[in-house]
Amino acid sequence: MILRFNRPHNLHKCNSKKMINDRFFWLGHPVVFRPGETFSAALRRAGLDDLGPAMGQLRGRYFCGIGACQACLVSVNGAAPVEACLTPARAGVQVTLAAPPACEVHRVAA
């Protein structure tokens, strides 16, 4: 049996839209956020689950939410990597994925 997206989903129940007006830029595109929330909370609300190509042919993405898995490392205004799940969003900054896709794993043959 295949279940389709047919369940009524009551998204954004809270009156969040009124309160959101700050924005940062993900790969140049504006992403709105509410003061006090993290970059990853805002990215996920914008439907940006896939953060782009990362190491080992994987994708940058949110996973653990506590800085333990290091899968959501982003660069803010070109700076060194920080966890999107820990870092409070700031207005006006440019944010990109920090995991270098070109940096492939080099394994020594056994």
């Binding site: 295949i2 998204l11 129940k13 006090g36 993290t38 996920r44 653990c64 939410g65 394994r107």
Partner: protein
């Protein structure tokens, strides 16, 4: 620069309880927390205006607000440093904190240390668990607490234990019920087979009442709770995920979702922590990073750690015994482990084991010459990624055991902590001062 008597790392229930007690004993305390607010995962603060739309355990909330009030009362003796990440320890006992507000690494030279960094979720590897849209239940739950909003699109909650039940019920209460809650174990059948464990679970009334409340919420929202059912594979579609689940009779069911929440229990989190036996400087681990006993017990464990530190420093402190309360939490956790016991998972060859570098289970075939945890790490690169083995060590250990190489999961991480524990900018290191 001001130097505290005690450095406490981690601003969840264990760390805050330890810090408050230590300050109350007259010691100066620096409490370092990686986030911009105290609370840890359990008490993640609502970022919206007004009160959180997500219902929380009232008893836990009261206790937490009492602790926060105590932090305020201690004043200058207890300093809280937010957005500061523990990186490691320099040879001469300087604890390095990455102060991400100031943009520089700060050394701390405490007389004692409490490490209370919290636990980590266990997630068993299944094909596709590395895809975007797949997150841990705890990770999604703390975003629900923080934003007051459910994730976008249809969601499936799967895995094992009480946390998926709680999260599924919270989603339903927020008006966004999951398509289903899949539980790998068979807690009801197990309760009949192990009445002792069931009895021990029943003795702990508050958590049981909480679980019944969640079950009622799921029932009212019409969320199916399927026990003995596990996720077999996850595939990326043009939009969203196709999740194939299989039950005990081998019947499969396919769910098309935008989000999949996975959780297979909680683990201690000791990767990169300075050892408790460090010569000279007393170091005590507290809370779920030391032993997974839950938020309630973490407060007691933090207070116990404070007492141990005070004794080690020769500071007078009130005598208190925390054994009974920790023991009762231990009994409940043991009962839960029995009730939620699950069959071991066969790891398919194509399954990604290392989520940092994309190493697959099939990569183990190339490691036939590797005869130890050390060789699997150095040659195979398992546990060498940015997460330092937090999410692959168990699977790598299971795969190695099948190949006849026996070791404990923590052995894969090696005996020397890999510091810095987190990425740190060269600019922050260059701004390091010892004044």
């Amino acid at each position: 620069m001001w130097q505290p008597d005690v450095l406490v790392v981690g601003g969840g229930p264990a760390g805050v309880a330890a810090a408050v007690d230590l300050a109350g004993m007259g010691l100066s305390v620096l409490l370092a927390e990686q986030r911009d607010r105290l609370g840890g995962a359990i008490h993640r603060a609502y970022a919206g205006v007004g009160s959180s739309p997500v219902k929380r355990n009232a008893h836990h909330e009261r206790r937490w607000h009492a602790l926060l009030a105590q932090v305020q009362q201690e004043g200058a003796r207890l300093r809280v440093q937010l957005q500061s990440v523990f990186l490691g320890v320099e040879g001469d006992g300087r604890y390095l904190l990455d102060d991400r507000v100031a943009g520089r690494v700060r050394p701390v030279r405490p007389r004692a240390v409490v490490m209370a960094v919290g636990g980590v979720e266990r997630v068993l590897p299944v094909p596709g668990w590395e895809l975007p849209g797949v997150s841990t239940v705890g990770g999604l739950q703390l975003q629900l607490k923080e934003t007051g909003e459910a994730p976008l699109g249809p969601i499936l909650v799967a895995g094992s234990g009480p946390l998926p039940l709680a999260y599924a019920a919270q989603l339903a209460a927020a008006g966004h019920p999951p398509l289903a809650l899949l539980e790998r174990g068979t807690p009801f059948g197990t309760a009949l087979a192990h009445p002792g464990a069931a009895f021990n679970g029943l003795r702990s009334w508050p958590p049981l009442a909480e679980a019944l409340g969640y079950a009622r919420q799921l029932w009212r929202s019409g969320v199916p709770y399927r026990t003995g059912c596990r996720v077999k594979a996850i595939e990326a579609m043009a939009q969203g995920l196709r999740v194939t689940a299989v039950d005990q009779r081998g019947q499969t069911q396919v769910y098309e979702v935008a989000q999949l929440a996975l959780h297979d229990g909680l683990d201690v989190n000791q990767t990169g922590l300075p050892r408790q036996t460090a010569a000279g400087l007393p170091v005590v681990w507290a809370g779920d990073c030391r032993e997974v006993l839950g938020a309630e017990a973490a407060v007691q464990d933090g207070r116990q750690a404070a007492q141990q530190v005070a004794k080690a420093l020769g500071q007078p402190c009130p005598e208190a015994n925390f054994d009974d309360r920790l023991q009762s939490a231990r009994r409940l956790q043991a009962a839960l482990r029995t009730l939620y016991q699950v069959p071991t998972l066969d790891i398919m060859p194509e399954t990604v084991v290392c989520r940092c570098e994309g190493l697959r289970a099939s990569g183990f075939a190339a490691l036939q010459g590797a005869g130890s945890a050390h060789e699997i790490r150095v040659i195979g690169r398992f546990a060498m990624g940015a997460c330092q083995g937090r999410f692959c060590a168990r699977a790598a250990q299971a795969l190695a055991a099948q190949a006849g190489v026996a070791f404990e999961p923590q052995d894969l991480r090696g005996s020397v902590p890999r510091w810095p524990l987190r990425p740190v900018s060269v600019a922050a290191l260059a701004a390091y001062t010892d004044e």
